[in-house]
């Protein structure tokens, strides 16, 4: 919600140009692997995302912040083409993943989704055992050898720190785990597909502080191997774990940059207002 003064300021200061280019985020050891060019999303008559241009560096954590309804989740869904499931959504623009535009005609949506592991807001274990949850991805993507599947399941359950907690009951229902364990299971399940990117859609918002901490630690561990893109609306979380911050408001990117710079020295008035809590 925007308070009265905040709303005034938005229209009096700093009109964001539709086509404004954003500087590339801080480059880490590696190069840009995900480039978004002039992305527009329309849901029926509403223009949800307006001319997004963004480059996301490899093997780092990028947090997308912004008030509710600013289009963060919509943006995240464009990355794994989940909007394909809702025909009223229209998308223009280009998203390059490893140099390929994922919205090109010849691109197989399954391949794109395989590259993008999604961690949803609420953990949603599949109606099967813990083991089968993790094994599901490899199985549907064609891995049949029992030994290989066993290995994968154990490897990723260990990776998310769940193996020691569940080793005696991997054959029991995944729904009996606590919600924090479920979320780690969902992460292991996503990792077992061997994605290159991890997308988190407010992945800790339904968890208790301790489980949140565990997931955050996992994200930090994940960026060694994966490119992590998180949507969050807790600024403190972004501050804790992000390498880069993207601030969105009303479907546009207002400001983006390395975390410390973004929080200590925001360039735009709107960003300063958001960080100081004038609106949220």
């Amino acid at each position: 919600m925007i308070n009265a003064t905040g709303q005034m300021r938005i229209f009096t200061t700093d009109p964001v140009m539709e086509t404004e280019k954003h500087a590339p985020l801080r480059k880490l050891a590696n190069d840009i692997s995900l480039r978004i060019e002039d992305l527009n999303v329309y849901i029926e008559e509403n223009h949800i995302l307006k001319g997004i241009n963004l480059e996301i560096p490899e093997k780092s954590i990028t947090c997308i912040i912004g008030p509710s309804g600013c289009g963060k989740s919509t943006f995240l869904k464009t990355l794994n083409r989940m909007h394909d499931e809702t025909p009223e959504v229209k998308i223009t623009g280009r998203i390059y993943v490893d140099g390929e535009n994922i919205y090109d005609k010849g691109i197989n949506v399954i391949d794109t989704r395989k590259k993008m592991g999604l961690l949803a807001q609420r953990p949603c274990p599949l109606p099967m055992s813990i083991f089968d949850n993790v094994a599901y991805g490899p199985r549907i993507h064609g891995i049949r050898r029992r030994k290989k599947i066993n290995q994968t399941v154990i490897q990723y359950l260990q990776y998310v720190g769940l193996w020691d907690e569940v080793r005696d009951r991997v054959r029991t229902s995944a729904t009996r785990l606590s919600i924090g364990q479920q979320q780690r299971l969902c992460l292991a399940r996503g990792l077992a597909i061997e994605p290159e990117y991890i997308l988190g859609d407010e992945a800790t918002s339904s968890l208790d502080p301790l489980s949140t901490k565990k997931i955050e630690e996992l994200f930090i561990k994940l960026k060694e191997k994966y490119t992590v893109i998180l949507v969050t609306h807790t600024l403190r979380q972004a501050k804790r774990i992000a390498d880069n911050i993207v601030f969105m408001y009303l479907g546009k990117i207002i400001e983006s940059g390395p975390t410390d710079e973004f929080f200590n020295n925001p360039k735009k008035q709107l960003t300063r207002d958001y960080l100081s809590g004038s609106f949220s």
Partner: protein
Amino acid sequence: MKQLEEKVFKVIMIGAAMIIICVLIYIIGTIFYKGLPSLSLDMITKLPGGGFYLGKEGGVLNAIVGSLYIIIGSLALSMIISVPLVMYINFYLPKNSVFSGLIRFSLDILFGIPSIVYGAFGFALMVYLGIRASLLGGIITVGMLIMPIMMRSLDEVTRLLSRDLPDALLSMGATKYEMTKVIIKQLMPGLVTATLLAVGRGIGDAATVLFTAGYTDNIPTALNQPAASLPLAIFFQLGSPVEEVQNRAYASAVILTVLILILSFSARYFSSKFSKNKI
């Protein structure tokens, strides 16, 4: 005043609940009271003997087996059509699409068609196809009767399913077919409820089988032979002037009721077994 409102409404609600329970007890009580004395082992293990309809020895095994054949066949038939249809309108068609609306509307109309109309339609269809009154005719007609019931109740539980599960599956790169297979597992209790509703309606219906399945004193051994059924057994025996035969109608009713109870309980048992991993 507010408290009075509360009290009056409470009385109405409890009253309504009591009426339902009393009606059930009254119906079951009457059937058992009149039927139990005539119920013997012969009734459920023997075919009708020579003078069965005059009060001589024999049983209604032909009708029990016939009813089971018809209901199992028509369940299989309607499940083969319902499950794919419900998956199609819920997960393949876009939300609020005109076509899925049309399908649901058609189902609502089919739902409301009286069973005798299905019977007449089934009969006309059989005449057209040149089939005599037979097990197959009964299965098709009862199948048509229970199909909309099954689809509608399966559709309701499917619509209540949260979007989280399909989304989770799709974002893992599952195809829609792979997604559907997992969702059906999740929907198992709903499928069982739908089946129960369908069985309850189908097994007790006399009008649909009257012209289409016919009636016979034997157990059918092929799909093109006529098949007896319990509702018709009750109907014919109740119409007899012989008192003993009339009482056997009530005994047949007891058998039908117990059969439905057994089917319900076993369905619930298997549903809880299958769905132990459900969310």
